[in-house]
Amino acid sequence: MNFESPTAVADALRSVDYLPDDRISQVVFLAGRLDKPILVEGPAGVGKTELAKSLARVTGRDLIRLQCYEGLDESKALYEWNYKKQLLRIQSDVDHDWEDIEQDIFSEDFLLTRPLLEAIRSPDPVVLLIDEVDRVEVETEALLLEILSDFQVSIPELGTMEAKTQPMVILTSNNTRELSEALKRRCLFLHIDYPDAEREQEILAARVPGLSEHLAAQVAKVARSIRNLDLKKAPSVSETIDWARTLLALSIDDVDEAILGDTLHVLLKYQSDIEKAAKELTSSAQA
């Protein structure tokens, strides 16, 4: 997937209401030029997964998603033999030579493709999203290496399956553990942080139709203010969007302490955080 320039990336993403900053558009541009996967890291809810979805929408490609979890193995990520079908095949055909049957049951007809294999076997190029890659064990991570660097999958019975088309690969990580050097080396690294107040305001305006400029600015500033506090979990962009929607639904057009206090639970998800934020934000007003 080749864009003309980083600016072209930014324009394309903007057209689907994803507002990238300089860093994001630059890295996406490079990924296209160098044919490298992007490893996106950052706090939850800043739009890591959304980036992949938006890229799929921009390019009109299909999005193939592999959600990682502890215990993910190759039969869920790469491929699996359809053993029921193989069994039927063996039973239905007792007269043939075993060698013929063996040849037959280990062919592509009996292969169940899983997301990774599917992504490289697809006749049209796709966007492959490997979500929350930090959730899998280190050993499983190794499964990804071949596909990330060479865009191919080796199946012992069949040989190497090479990519028909070059997928655009996005990996996301919440950084709950350190990923292996081998994986990182193969990727471009992109850290997405909470946006600054101006960009957040733009995001709100794009994502919440009907939101007044004044309210969007206020929501963005409150979000920044809360993120400055030392909290267990700072409000994510998706949470500020939810909050803006809530305010809109309640037809509120100006936020004050009382309204903030009543709707804080949309932004923050821990009781201790809610109490702390309420105390901080309202006490400063009294002082």
């Binding site: 630059q26 500033k221 004050d256 009781q271 934000l281 007003a285």
Partner: protein, 475 residues
Amino acid sequence: MLGIITGFIDELRAAGVPVSMVEAIDGMRAVEAIEIGDRIALRETLRATLIKNLRHESAFDTAFDVYFSTLPLGFGDPEDQGLSSDAPWPEGAEHPEQPPFDLDLLLDSLLEALAGLDEEAVRRGARTAVDELAGMEPGRPVGGTYYLYRTLRRLDLKELEERLLAALMEDQDLSEFDQRLLREEVEARIEHLREQIEEEIRRRLVADRGRDAVARTLRRPLIEDVDLMHATTKDLQEMEAAIEPLTRKLAARLARRRRKREGRLDFKRTMRRSLGTGGVPADPQFRHPRPHRPEVWLLCDISGSMATFSRFTLQFTHAMSTHFSKLRSFAFIDTIDEVSDFFGPGVDFGSALQRVTTEAEVVWLDGHSDYGNSLETFNARYGRQLTPRTTVIVTGDARNNYRPPRDSVLGEIAKAARALVWLNPEPEAYWDTGDSAMSHYANHCTSVHEVRTLRQLEQFIEDLTLPGSRPLQNA
């Protein structure tokens, strides 16, 4: 250009950032694909290819500013053409028609620029401020902070902030809540100005003394190499992000035990394997046994000499409490008290820390470390609850103020527990000097480690192998 990038990569490596050969080559290839004159594009390109860890980004930013600050900023900035190296900084002679410098005039124009969000004017103001106020002398081997200090002493940012706030509030009747939001907005803009000034100074230093020299003076240890005994609060906050993955890893390490064929038959997998042998289940498959829940007891020295380190260990304790259901923590100075209940999921670390320092009864006599008494009290009060599954981790410098070490108690603790690990934040060379009683205690420990930096802690967790938990009847 190639030369500068190689120099830049060398500088990153010198600062401790691991940049592999492959990454360096990727960086070069990537640079070929972009517009070379655009500084932001170059920065993000090099960052994406060379830096693979958030902890290394600040080192990257510092080095990048030094190596590429003379490039134009790109993105439509006609005036900012960078400085050529033969004219270190524009002397007064370059603007002969300008009136003599007037600080108030500068402040006024800065104020206007900040209020109107005029990016270009802010940068121009920052440049003038450095011209007139920093008093930079070519060839003088001082760091940027000295000039920054000189500039900011005259250019009172605090006052500028107040004036800006007043100017923005002027014709509006704002509620207190809106005022707070506005104040934060103003703080952000002033901070931006400060960064501009800092960048300007750095740029001139580079032009004067060359990239490599400036990079050397600005080099800071990476966050994983900061000495935990002398870490600042800011350092500790930065470490917080790194601690979380570490505690997970420690949890995984402690749960690991020797793989034996255990667990129940996995019927589904056995059937599937049997296809390879024509339906004969020749290769029975078993479910993996459930990982057992490790018990960890942490004993932290929180005496004055250990202030910074103990904050770190408590931070670590706090993070661990979300991964270990059976974590107990104890704090001691000259006696010991349990602090487990202060930590836990959903608890704010700040308040937990406060409770440890105010509520825990850790002072018995005079508030100077007494390991002997602490350990004895610990053994008397909690020793019977130790099981052969418990791993005890002691963190402390073993400086006992020349009091009797009473280390035999530690032997009893070690015998009752699965393992006893001691983490000492002092360099190994200092152990047993002065009032340190490390070797007395080390005799009884399963292992003793020097943990002075985050990197060493990482290493300790990486290498950790403990004896398997013994069966209960042997206890």
